[in-house]
């Protein structure tokens, strides 16, 4: 039976994890996701799961690493400065091929920054953050409902590919309250292959989980294996959303909170006769390069809007291969761009185009 709730993004995230079957959570308080840690402290207990408020974000991700080794569905959450601390653990999980979910409720940075929602961790999430040649599947919700849905799905993806998966949200989505709907009988995400877990070598060969490969050529071979996995994900797991794109020649590219503003801008621009549309990446990795490239071939001009100094815009430029047609508008330090600001930018593109003709 479908139940309706009014929920914050943070709590929706927690409930999505619980419903997916997550029964191990380790975290540390940090604004703006404290509601999530507190929520998990109650829900894990209610579901006979394990909750640990760790001594640091650093310790928390290593606890998830330990739990993941046993095949448990494990999650840790934090916000930007805490996610910086988790980079070590993420790299280790990627190298050891362990499933796990990390949620970043992004706030303004760099350094201590502030506690407003922002989008300045795109590079950190998609281009590494941790050391070594690895990738994380990164899902970017744009509503409380999606925060629930994507957190729920992230466990399945982590399990399917034996890798850490990130849900990249922000302080606005985390704190806002919206409708949340899900089936009360929703089933836990089915467990994937468990032939690699450590649970005591009973009636089987002892196993070793590690990312250290010192032998001649061994680490390269391991990396080749990881890369094969990433190529497969790039082929099969790209997700994106489009809005009024069919005849659009001015496309706003935005993700998360900003995509909501972008949608409103598209409607207002259309009222003024501008053929505007929105392209919204949902997986930030794997990034929808091909889809943007195809759009570019139609002569589209893009405005990338982010709450950052310009991070995703680099991937858009890579896809479009024509910098003249990719404009950027960003607000930093947790400031939110207004519809007026974005609409103004799209109109400027239109002006430039007209002058060229």
């Amino acid at each position: 039976m479908k139940k309706k709730y009014l929920s914050t993004g943070n709590e929706a995230c927690g409930e999505g994890a619980v419903r997916a079957g997550c029964r191990f959570y380790a975290g540390y308080p940090i604004t703006p996701q404290n509601e999530l840690t507190a929520y998990m402290s109650r829900r894990m207990e209610e579901e006979n799961g394990i909750f640990i408020q760790a001594e640091s974000e650093l310790a928390a991700v290593s606890m998830v690493f330990g739990a993941a080794v046993t095949g448990a569905k494990a999650m840790t959450t934090s916000s930007s400065p805490g996610i910086s601390l988790k980079q070590e653990g993420i790299s280790y999980m990627a190298g050891c091929e362990l499933p796990g979910v990390i949620v970043n409720v992004v706030r303004g940075g760099p350094g201590l920054g502030n506690i407003s929602g922002a989008q300045s961790d795109y590079f950190q999430s998609t281009k590494g953050g941790g050391h070594g040649d690895y990738r994380m599947i990164v899902l970017a919700p744009a509503s409380v409902q999606e925060t629930f849905d994507f957190t729920y799905e992230s466990f399945g993806l982590a399990d399917k590919y034996r890798m850490p998966v990130m849900v990249l949200t922000d302080g606005i989505l985390g704190q806002m309250m919206e409708k949340l709907e899900f089936d009360d009988d929703i089933q836990a995400v089915p467990e994937g292959d468990r032939s690699w877990v450590l649970d005591g070598a009973k009636a089987r060969e002892a196993r070793c989980i590690k990312s250290l490969f010192l032998g001649d050529g061994a680490l390269e071979a391991h990396n080749i294996k990881l890369q094969k996995k990433y190529r497969k994900i790039e082929k099969e797991e790209v997700r994106y959303e489009t809005y009024k794109l069919e005849d659009a020649d001015k496309v706003i590219v935005a993700y998360g909170s900003v995509s909501r503003i972008g949608k409103a801008c598209v409607d207002r621009l259309r009222e003024e006769g501008v053929k505007a549309g929105l392209f919204r990446p949902v997986t930030l990795w794997p990034f929808p390069y091909k889809e943007l490239s195809d759009l570019a071939k139609k002569g589209t001009r893009f405005l990338v809007a982010e709450m950052s100094a310009g991070q995703m815009v680099e991937d858009v430029r890579l896809a479009v291969q024509d910098d003249m047609r990719v404009a950027f508008y960003g607000r930093m330090g947790g400031e939110v761009p207004t519809e007026e600001e974005i609409i103004e930018q799209v109109k400027r593109i239109k002006e430039k185009e007209k002058r060229k003709k």
């Binding site: 191990f24 380790a26 394990i50 640990i52 760790a54 001594e55 640091s56 650093l58 310790a59 928390a60 290593s62 606890m63 998830v64 690493f65 330990g66 739990a67 993941a68 080794v69 046993t70 448990a72 494990a74 070590e88 653990g89 280790y92 050891c96 450590l198 649970d199 005591g200 070598a201 009973k202 009636a203 002892a206 196993r207 070793c208 989980i209 590690k210 990312s211 250290l212």
Partner: protein, 243 residues
């Protein structure tokens, strides 16, 4: 009666990579002997450190894993909480436990995590070339205390075991050594005690073992054992600290 001295069942038949006179070989073997005697090989999950013993899993025929440097007790916490009836132990050196992992060891103890910690204290960082460790003695020369360790600039040898003794969640703490056959036997008894503490569900247990590092002490293996007897145990007294 003619017997055969063989490797314990839990120990893999591999060539050692450790230096001549290193304590790890002895300690690895004692752990395997105890695990076999307790019949726990199929129930054990071990977390290896970063340090010379990073390759400990090459010697042990039970489930093993690595951990990021210092995070070992946090990783073990994750494992033990999900699988509370397994024997989960960490094996850590001076850097892993007493430097980068100080927060993790204290909090694992403070939460009373039912894990066992084998702390190998040889007063230097071997793997990386003999740098000063928190456990390096005053007056000791190392790669990063080239003018010897001086209290005013380099601080004092850290007594983690004594620090841990005030934590109510900690059930058993002992310090032993392996510089003589008698001490080797004491260490084996202590390893068994520490594992049994976990198996009995009593709480967090930790054994600190004073071990030699001939390479970075600049001494022969025999002289290293003498140094432990004459100098190190004076700073790090042997015995049960808490039970």
């Amino acid at each position: 009666m003619v017997g055969r001295f063989t490797k314990p069942r839990s120990m893999k038949d591999v060539t050692t990579h450790y230096c001549p006179g290193c304590g790890h070989g002895i300690i690895h073997r004692l752990i395997c002997e105890v695990i076999d005697e307790l019949g726990e090989r199929e129930n054990t999950i071990a977390v290896a450190p970063v340090g010379c013993a990073v390759l400990a899993y090459d010697y042990w025929d039970f489930d093993t894993m690595e951990a990021a440097h210092g995070r070992t007790p946090a990783v073990a916490t994750g494992v033990k909480r999900v699988l509370p009836d397994r024997l989960v132990f960490t094996y850590q050196g001076d850097g892993d436990l007493a430097a980068i992992g100080t927060a993790e060891i204290i909090h694992a103890g403070n939460r009373g995590e039912k894990i066992s910690v084998i702390f190998v204290n040889n007063g230097v960082y071997g793997m990386t070339g003999g740098q000063m460790a928190p456990t390096t003695l005053l007056g000791q020369t190392t790669a990063t205390s080239q003018f010897t360790r001086r209290a005013e600039k380099e601080g004092f040898p850290l007594k983690v075991l004594e620090m841990m003794s005030v934590l109510p969640g900690v059930a058993y703490l002992e310090r032993t050594s392996i510089h003589s056959p008698k001490d080797v036997m004491s260490t084996k008894k202590a390893i068994r005690k520490v594992f049994q503490t976990q198996l009995d569900g009593k709480g967090f247990s930790m054994l600190e073992i004073i071990s030699p590092c001939p390479t970075y002490w600049g001494l022969t293996p025999v002289k290293s054992l003498e140094r432990i007897e004459k100098e190190v145990v004076k700073e790090y007294p042997l015995g049960v600290i808490k039970q």
